[in-house]
Symmetry: C2
Subunit: 244 residues, 2 copies
DNA sequence: CGACTAGTTGAGCCGATTCAACCCCAGTGG
DNA sequence: CCACTGGGGTTGAATCGGCTCAACTAGTCG
């Protein structure tokens, strides 16, 4: 449990992807921050149905939220990237309604959960931001539900690749040769409600017609336009994205 | 546009399903309320991709949120019952990311959207409540995504019937002989990512083994335990539910 | 050098889809 | 008053997308 990064020097804030806060707000967030913690790849960060009231923002790394069934099947609800907030649903339930697992090594900014109420009281604008964050995460789940419920496998996968690519891009994670892509085929299968085998075959088919390529754990979209067309991609314009 | 019901006499607040507010908060909500509006069954309340910043709570009636694809397929994201709030996602996007359609005749309490910010500033506890509401709606979508992604048709339908039944029950809509059930098989199909024909056959199969029955638009669960077992139903205990 | 993880590919099967009738009932209008 | 119409529900038949089973490869790590 260390505290290496000051909020006013937060690398995510430099990015331009997030809305600006006043110095007072940054001060408060700094005070709100309890510590940093790291979780290594593959480890569970929050357990399903366990008492857990952790509040945190992902500072670096990839993770996902999931729910699982007694028979072992698991649904990935959405992927979590830097800047994503963890712990809102935990606030409104007695136990955590979902699990969170690290894909890569993950660094979290942990907040003082007892002071969430103070945040709403003293900085209503930040309270508003937290609502924004909750509504935005719901939007991501909505999008995925639309895919899983109504799109065939090819389109689901095209959609997922596009969404992850665009999110990573807005965080400056995309370079010329694509981005570091730590998602396994099993993750994709679990997120899209497909079997691993079918996910593999569909991915290969998309690769074969030259829509994307992977090498050494990097993903590059060769023909994003074709992917967008395949998935009937439609980007919903959002307002300024807050960061807590 | 009338204003028949005072917030302090709101029939939903009498129910015991919602947390109590202070008199000052009720006063504010009363002031926050602009009017009531009614939408008749089958009409669109909010159009997809249209500019719309309406804030409202459902006072009576059933509705649903949905997204649709260019090919005409439609995914119902979640059903909306009295007490559910409409308009949070609209706040964080430029256009509405989803549509809302009335199933029965619906009465809404419309709020002054320009005063949402005032709500956060003057009544941070209500701001906190709105976050709760957003997180809770996300929870509903999570649950449905788990079903659509991982459960076979029979279990999906069992789950949906249980969830709607329990929600209606907490709102006092269930009587001895069941509840008024305005959902068509097409709604169920669209919510669960199933075809209409398969939904019908699965529904009939569940009815045949005596899990539920319908007559004159009323639904009665004959054997809720068996439904729960079939769906691996697990109720996540929630904290006090707010009402704006 | 096993042992384990991630990915790949073929074969056969099954749950869910599409197509196509058909029924019932509540409006509606001549 | 009754024929017509349209929405919701029901059912069988044929098809197919995606599933399971199974076997195999390549890379990595203690």
């Amino acid at each position: 449990m260390t505290m290496n990064i000051k909020c006013c020097e937060c690398p995510l804030r430099q990015l331009g992807a997030f809305s600006k806060n006043t110095p007072e707000e940054i001060d408060f967030i700094q005070h709100f921050k309890l510590a940093e913690s790291t979780h290594s790849a593959g480890k569970t960060i929050i357990y399903e149905s366990k008492h857990n009231k952790e509040l945190a923002t992902i500072l670096s790394g990839w993770a996902f939220r999931y729910r699982s069934l007694p028979n072992g099947k698991r649904q990935i609800l959405n992927f979590l990237l830097p800047g994503d907030f963890i712990g809102l649903q935990e606030q409104m339930a007695v136990v955590s309604p979902h699990g969170v697992e690290a894909i890569t090594d993950v660094t979290l900014c942990i907040f003082k959960r007892d002071e969430l109420w103070k945040l709403y009281r003293e900085h209503p604008a930040l309270g508003y931001d937290i609502t924004w964050i909750a509504a935005h995460e719901e939007h991501l789940v909505d999008e995925n539900l639309l895919s899983v419920g109504q799109r065939p496998a090819k389109e689901r996968i095209a959609m997922l690749l596009l969404n992850l690519y665009k999110r990573a891009n807005s965080l400056g994670l995309v370079e010329n040769d694509g981005l570091v892509f730590p998602i396994t085929q099993q993750h994709i299968a679990d997120a899209l409600g497909l079997s691993l085998v079918h996910t593999n075959k569909t991915l290969r088919a998309l690769q074969k017609i030259g829509l994307y390529q992977t090498s050494r754990g990097r993903l590059k979209l060769i023909n994003p336009k074709a992917l967008e067309q395949m998935a009937s991609y439609y980007e919903i314009p959002l307002r300024d994205r807050p960061l807590i």
